[in-house]
Amino acid sequence: MPRWIKPAVAILLLVYLVIQILSFRSQEKTRLAPAERFVMVLASPLQNMAWSAVRGSVNVWQDYIRLIGVSRTNRALYDERNALVRRLSELKEVEQENRRLRGLMEFREREGLKLLFAVRIASGATPYERTIRVRRGNADGVKREMAVLHPGGVIGQVVEASGRVSDVLLLSDLNSAADGVIQRSRARGIVRGSGLNELTFEYLTKGDDIVVGDEVMTTGLDGIYPKGQLIGRVTRIEKDGKGLFVSARVKPSVDFSRLEEVAIVLEKRE
């Protein structure tokens, strides 16, 4: 027998075995061998446990351990965001103040009045009086009966002035009054405070030309307010029917509740 026969047979057997194994694995298995079933029954809970452990670990890693860092980052971002919001708020405040002050400066240039700017520091003692306290007083040249204005219109007049603070009676106070005129028709009357953010324009005669929306201005004849300052706009006309006079409701051009800075008229132009 030649020497190569043995290895050739062995190779053929191996090839056959491989082919047999391959053909066996590719067949559809309909039934499991008892041993295999036993192994599966025994192994599956362990496999499940192991898989669950891995999966659990992954979850713990993803949902917790890795989130420790995320949480820290989140906190840092949150703090940063809060700081930015605070900063933004401060900048908005500065921007608004800047706008208000620029308005006051333009107002001074436009009106040609000698004005002194003052910051509001308090309100009146009770809700029934419309006064504000400002941080300017005698020491700054403020005196009683000086007009107080705003770029938006008339505010009121100084009723008390001490060293460094003054009390301003707002035009909306029941005790306030100013000589007013309808800008369009020049109809004259007296503007009085009416409590809340409303004024009444009184002593207009029945023949006066007045319509809703008319602008009411100061005449300067009361000796307190400079001429030509906007007081407000007519919102309603009240005709009595019997009396000689007509009155009108006027919405002030300035929202008194939003006042922060005002301008005190130290000297009126001639």
Binding site: I121, A122, S123, G124, A125, T126, P127, Y128, E129, R130, T131, R133, V159, E160, D167, L169, L174, N175, S194, G195, L196, N197, S257, R258
Partner: protein
């Protein structure tokens, strides 16, 4: 003496707070919540302090307090002379008169009573002002402000009274109201 000084400080602080911090807070609330009727409102802490004193001190001492609080209040505003002193004096008198018949047992009754006294003070202040022609047409123009003041100050009364009780406790004051109750066996 210690108690007098303590209440002097409280009274001054009350005026400062109600004309600045609280008034400003209500303006912010009015703007922020879109409730314009809150603008111009404040908690009348000075009046609440007076009501508290009127309920817990002897009448004569409290009447002096009423004049002092009203007088100091006139430095914080521009109401006509005597508006606060006279109305506070009368409120103090009313409280003193009602004291023995009152049982302010919980926060609600305290709030209601304080609200009623705010109303009395407003009527006295505005009524006297109208009669003396200082504030023409005051009631018809101010009724909504009065309602706001009654609600706001009344609601704050229980909290402020707690604070004043704490001041009393710290300064070692004995409430006249408690003393009367003890003497009458209540």
């Amino acid at each position: 003496m210690k108690n007098w000084i303590a209440f002097g400080v409280v009274m001054f602080g009350a005026w400062v707070l109600q004309t600045s911090l609280l008034a400003g807070l209500f303006l912010v609330l009015a703007r922020g919540l879109g409730l314009p009727f809150l603008a111009g409102q404040t908690v009348n802490l000075a009046l609440l302090t007076l009501i508290y004193l009127s309920l817990h001190r002897d009448v004569s001492g409290t009447l002096i307090w009423a004049v002092v609080i009203g007088f100091v209040g006139s430095w914080f505003g521009t109401t006509w002379n005597g508006a606060l002193t006279s109305s506070f004096f009368l409120v103090s008198l009313v409280c003193g008169g009602l004291r023995r018949n009152l049982l302010l047992k919980d926060d609600l009754t305290v709030a209601v009573f304080a609200g009623a006294m705010v109303l009395v003070q407003a009527i006295l202040q505005l009524g006297a002002g109208e009669i003396l022609n200082q504030i023409p047409g005051a009631f018809e123009r101010e009724y909504d402000v009065i309602i706001g003041a009654v609600l706001v100050t009344g609601a704050a009364a229980p909290v402020w009274f707690r604070f004043l009780r704490a001041v009393d406790a710290l300064s070692g004051a004995i409430s006249q109201r408690s003393r009367t109750m003890l003497l009458s066996g209540l």
